[in-house]
């Protein structure tokens, strides 16, 4: 093949460009520490990276939902424990008078205690988290419980949130199912109207009606069980939230590993490549410099 000096020049420029372009790419990889800086770097894995990015974002959102639900459940659990304690105190008070008493002062004492405990029960029923009544269902404008009948003015709406993809969990306990279950459409914990039981007991004690006092004591017992059932429900939810959190975190670890494997560069490999490219580039420059100096002009 006939070779002219321009061919050598063009060839040198082409090769220098090739070396430069490889160095540029390696430099970009080292500088950004990413294999993929734009979709065209690897269009297939780009889609995967974006997909993993959204999944990680969704997981963060689910974890945030779970954290908020967790707070809600703990507040609910604490309130239910307090309610349970109130029921225990009420039962103790009633136990002192199950056979009735002819002493009006003793009866009055019990009545006062029961009235106080009922008030506490109503206060617990009106517990708020932020500005939300935790037992009010979907009604937030008024306190769900009042001291007089009808005791419950909330509704029976379940508030569900997403804790995973197509995985929802109820965060609230409907107040009427808890304390005025006889009026609830669904009675998962029991059918006792706890507040009415207090009122019936107060009437019975005032009237010294032993049969009614015994019936009231039984109603209180049933009411305490009802609250315990709700506590079990909340405990179950907490366990589920915990399990879901673990699943999401495991999932996140897996996704992050895949993401890292695809996206982050192997520095050792790049260092070796850079070295090779540097040697190749220096060789190209040196060859170009040597060849371009040669001319017949220097000899004639």
């Amino acid at each position: 093949m006939r070779v002219t000096s321009n061919m050598s020049n063009d060839n040198s420029i082409y090769n220098i460009q090739q070396s430069q372009s490889k160095l540029y790419k390696t430099n970009e990889l080292i500088g950004t520490q990413r294999n993929i800086s734009r979709p065209s770097d690897d269009s297939v894995n780009s889609k995967l990276l974006l997909d993993i990015g959204y999944k990680l974002k969704a997981n963060d959102q689910y974890l945030s939902n779970i954290a908020k639900s967790d707070t809600w459940q703990h507040v609910t659990s604490d309130t239910l424990t307090a309610m349970s304690d109130i029921m225990t105190l009420a039962k103790e008070q009633v136990a002192t008078i199950t056979s009735g008493s002819s002493d009006a002062t003793i009866r009055q004492n019990v009545v006062t205690q029961l009235q106080t405990l009922k008030q506490q029960m109503v206060d617990m029923g009106n517990m708020q988290l932020g500005d939300q009544y935790i037992f009010g269902g979907a009604k937030n404008s008024v306190k769900p419980f009042s001291i007089t009948s009808p005791y419950y003015s909330g509704d029976e709406t379940a508030i569900n949130i997403e804790v995973g993809k197509e995985n929802t969990q109820q965060i609230n306990i409907e107040g009427n199912r808890l304390l005025t279950a006889d009026t609830a459409l669904s009675q998962p914990y029991g059918s006792t109207n706890v507040l009415k039981a207090f009122d019936d007991l107060i009437t019975a004690v005032n009237a010294n009606d032993v049969t009614a006092i015994v019936a009231g004591a039984q109603a209180l017992e049933a009411g305490a069980k009802q609250i315990n059932n709700a506590q079990s429900d909340v405990a179950g939810r907490l366990v589920r939230l915990d399990a879901t959190t673990k699943i999401i975190e495991n999932n996140r670890n897996t996704l992050e590993t895949i993401y890292t494997n695809i996206q982050y560069v192997d520095n050792a490999k790049l260092a070796v490549e850079l070295n090779q490219q540097q040697i190749a580039y220096e060789a190209t420059l040196s060859a170009t410099a040597k060849i371009s100096k040669l001319s017949l002009l220097d000899y004639i």
Binding site: T4, A138, S295
Partner: protein
């Protein structure tokens, strides 16, 4: 036959080697001229004569000055450069647009969609909360803003591609005119018996230049002229020294330019460019980039339909007023928030239940619903697909460009090998012709000396 013949041979040789040096000089001077083909002097023995019963030579003549030219290579280069022109134009435009869809390193439309539904997730936890409602509105606003930004970028690219057609067709027309003019000169020079090597080189270079802009076919005529035809449709562009032209008319339907060709002496006709830079511009404008815009419009329209359908099924903050459309506008450029007050966000799905979150929950579940591509993809997956598609388009156009450049470089090398000037070679010729010139001069002086001797005999 006499001494004067020797003088004549010497004189011819001197002239011949002077011309040979001129050609060498021309070659050396044009060593870096693009498209220049090296020339050489073809020598032949002059007409012989008979003298004293012998056939005797009469010195040297120049039979022709020819250029090294490979017609086949020229054809290949023209075809390869059309492909390179197409792929290079495509890859450079797509690379610019790729940044709009680069959601790998920066948040884009996909993240805006994710964040929008994330805000609805937060709202499910506190459907009554003003801050959460405000977040839904703000994320909705960011989503529509991102739609606008993406569609503006795409539309700007389409519009600037359309504008490019003006300068591109002007440049093509100028080249066509120059080719026709040079054809005229070549023909005239040929008729006068002259040497048109340089003009041919210029014309061939222009044909190669033209081939990056449009695909062409050409035929070389016996009179040295070249006729050029348009590869897309076969319209004549240059016939001898007659020239056709490209023109643009605005299409009333699209508002974009249509490309027309008027052949020499013919009627204007609509063409569909598919090769060279011109083909790339049209293909990008009408198919590739328009395709991305259509995808964005699809996404915006489905977002509009699905979100509104759920939103109108819920109740506003007062618990009684039915939800209105959340978005207005059904294109990526036109989509906007239809509501502005936090109270208008319809989180509740039950009339009268202010704190109900069932509608917000429905909205969050929309993110994972298969709403796009006839019920096969989610919003995010669809957007990922678009990003991946433009990535693939850029990747393949870059690969094509690299391949084309390697191929045209190889062809240029072959052309250079055949037609390029080698300085070493020319310097050798320079010395060779110089020596020959010196020898011829010596012939003349020797003949003169001999003539003096003869004249001395007479004295």
């Amino acid at each position: 036959m006499g001494l004067s013949t020797v003088l004549e041979i010497g004189r011819n040789a001197l002239n011949t080697y002077r011309v040979a040096q001129e050609v060498t000089g021309e070659n050396i001077a044009n060593v870096n001229t693009p498209g220049y083909s090296r020339q050489r002097v073809l020598l032949e023995t002059a007409q012989t004569v008979s003298a004293n019963g012998f056939t005797v030579g009469n010195g040297v003549n120049i039979s022709k000055i020819e250029r090294y030219y490979d017609g086949m290579l020229q054809q290949q280069m023209v075809s390869a450069q059309s492909t390179e022109g197409y792929d290079t134009a495509k890859s450079s435009v797509l690379q610019q647009l790729e940044q709009t869809f680069n959601e790998i390193t920066t948040d884009g439309l996909g993240a805006a969609i994710s964040d929008f539904f994330g805000a609805w997730q937060d709202l499910t936890l506190n459907p009554d909360g003003t801050a959460e409602r405000q977040a839904v509105l703000s994320r909705g606003q960011i989503l529509t803003d991102t739609f606008h930004a993406v569609s503006t970028n795409i539309e700007d690219t389409i519009s600037s591609l359309n504008d490019t057609l003006n300068s591109l067709t002007d440049s093509i027309n100028t080249t066509l005119t120059s080719i026709a003019e040079l054809n005229g000169k070549i023909k005239l020079t040929g008729q006068l018996g002259g040497n048109s090597n340089e003009i041919r080189d210029q014309r061939d270079q222009l044909i190669r230049d033209l081939s990056t802009q449009i695909g062409i076919t050409y035929t070389e005529n016996s009179d040295g002229t070249t006729d050029v035809k348009y590869a897309d449709g076969g319209a004549e562009l240059v016939t001898g020294s007659a020239v056709g032209s490209f023109s643009l008319t605005v299409n009333a339907g699209t508002g974009h330019y249509d490309v027309n060709v008027t052949p020499p002496g013919g009627a204007v006709a609509l063409v569909s460019p598919a090769t060279g830079q011109l083909g790339a511009v049209i293909s990008l404008r009408d198919t590739t980039i328009q395709g991305y815009l259509d995808d964005m419009n699809d996404l915006a329209k489905t977002m509009f339909t699905e979100v509104n359908s759920i939103h109108t099924g819920g109740f506003q903050h007062d618990g009684t007023t039915a939800g209105t459309n959340f978005f207005s506008g059904t294109t990526a450029a036109g989509i906007a928030l239809n509501i502005s007050a936090t109270s208008e966000v319809a989180a509740s799905g039950v009339s009268g239940a202010v704190g109900d979150n069932s509608n917000a929950l429905k909205m969050t579940q929309l993110q994972n619903s298969l709403t796009m591509s006839s019920g096969t993809e989610t919003f995010n997956a669809y957007q990922d697909g678009v990003v991946s598609q433009i990535g693939l388009d850029v990747e393949s156009s870059l690969n094509a460009e690299t391949r084309d450049i390697a191929f045209t470089t190889q062809l240029s090398t072959l052309r250079e090998s055949n037609s390029g000037v080698s300085l070493d070679e020319e310097l050798t010729n320079l010395v060779k012709y110089q020596r020959s010139y010196q020898a011829s001069a010596k012939l003349v002086t020797t003949a003169t000396d001999m003539m003096d001797i003869v004249l001395g005999l007479i004295r």
